[in-house]
């Protein structure tokens, strides 16, 4: 299960609203203890697609991810996964998300931004055989 404090969820959703009508992206930081995954904060990232492509896809290259990994390590936190927004689309992992997915074990948190407003946030995990995403239980805390 993935636990996200309300305040962190607000940050994720606000980031998606600011990126609208484009897709926003960032890292979910926190701690892992057995099967308990507790988010404690985010690290906002820059969508590196050209501006005209950002409405339907995102990417972050290895160099930017290296900096993010080093920053997470400096804070003593794990990277639990990534969040991104789907402007005017369901908060479901798409075929594109699956085709370009990294490793099973990361949380892929997706937020629908409908007409500029965050409406639904759900979390997904890639199957071990990479064939599909399954929804991950998401628990909000104060």
């Amino acid at each position: 299960m993935l636990t996200i404090p309300n305040e962190v969820l607000k940050q994720i959703q606000a980031h998606g609203e600011r990126a609208y009508p484009n897709e926003g992206v960032g890292l979910l930081l926190g701690t892992i203890s057995g099967s308990d995954r507790a988010a404690t904060g985010i690290l906002e990232l820059t969508n590196s697609w050209p501006a005209e492509e950002q409405f339907h896809r995102y990417q972050v290259d290895g160099q930017a991810m290296l900096k993010a990994e080093l920053e997470a390590a400096r804070r003593g936190l794990d990277i639990l996964g990534f969040f991104h927004s789907h402007p005017d689309h369901p908060a479901e992992a798409s075929a594109t998300d699956r085709d370009w997915a990294t490793w099973p074990g990361y949380s892929y948190v997706i937020t629908t931004i409908a007409q500029g407003r965050a409406t639904v946030t759900r979390s997904w995990q890639l199957r071990e055989d990479r064939s599909a995403f399954d929804e991950e239980a998401l628990s909000l805390t104060k």
């Binding site: 897709e23 992206v25 892992i32 339907h56 896809r57 995102y58 990417q59 972050v60 290259d61 290895g62 160099q63 991810m65 290296l66 990994e69 080093l70 390590a73 794990d78 990277i79 639990l80 990534f82 991104h84 789907h86 402007p87 689309h89 992992a93 798409s94 594109t96 998300d97 370009w100 997915a101 990294t102 490793w103 099973p104 074990g105 990361y106 892929y108």
Partner: protein, 91 residues
Amino acid sequence: MATIRIPTPLRPYTNSQAEVTVSGATVGAVLGDLTQQYPTLKQHLYNDKGELRAFVNIFLNEEDIRHIRGADTPVQAQDRLMIVPSIAGGR
């Protein structure tokens, strides 16, 4: 022996170790030693053709090995390597 940092989701395949000590004179040899020590890691780093998966980046002392000599990049005993994903997706 060089050290290689393992990203969070791959640690279940390295007995939960965040860093692994590896031997080898090149990046290719070091990765070979890593996947020999932890065979189940291999499928997550390499595709069916035996090539590094497109989203997998290897950094040697924070420099992308693609900008050095790729798998033939020499590795010294005190070097630190990192496995870092590029991420992408879309609606």
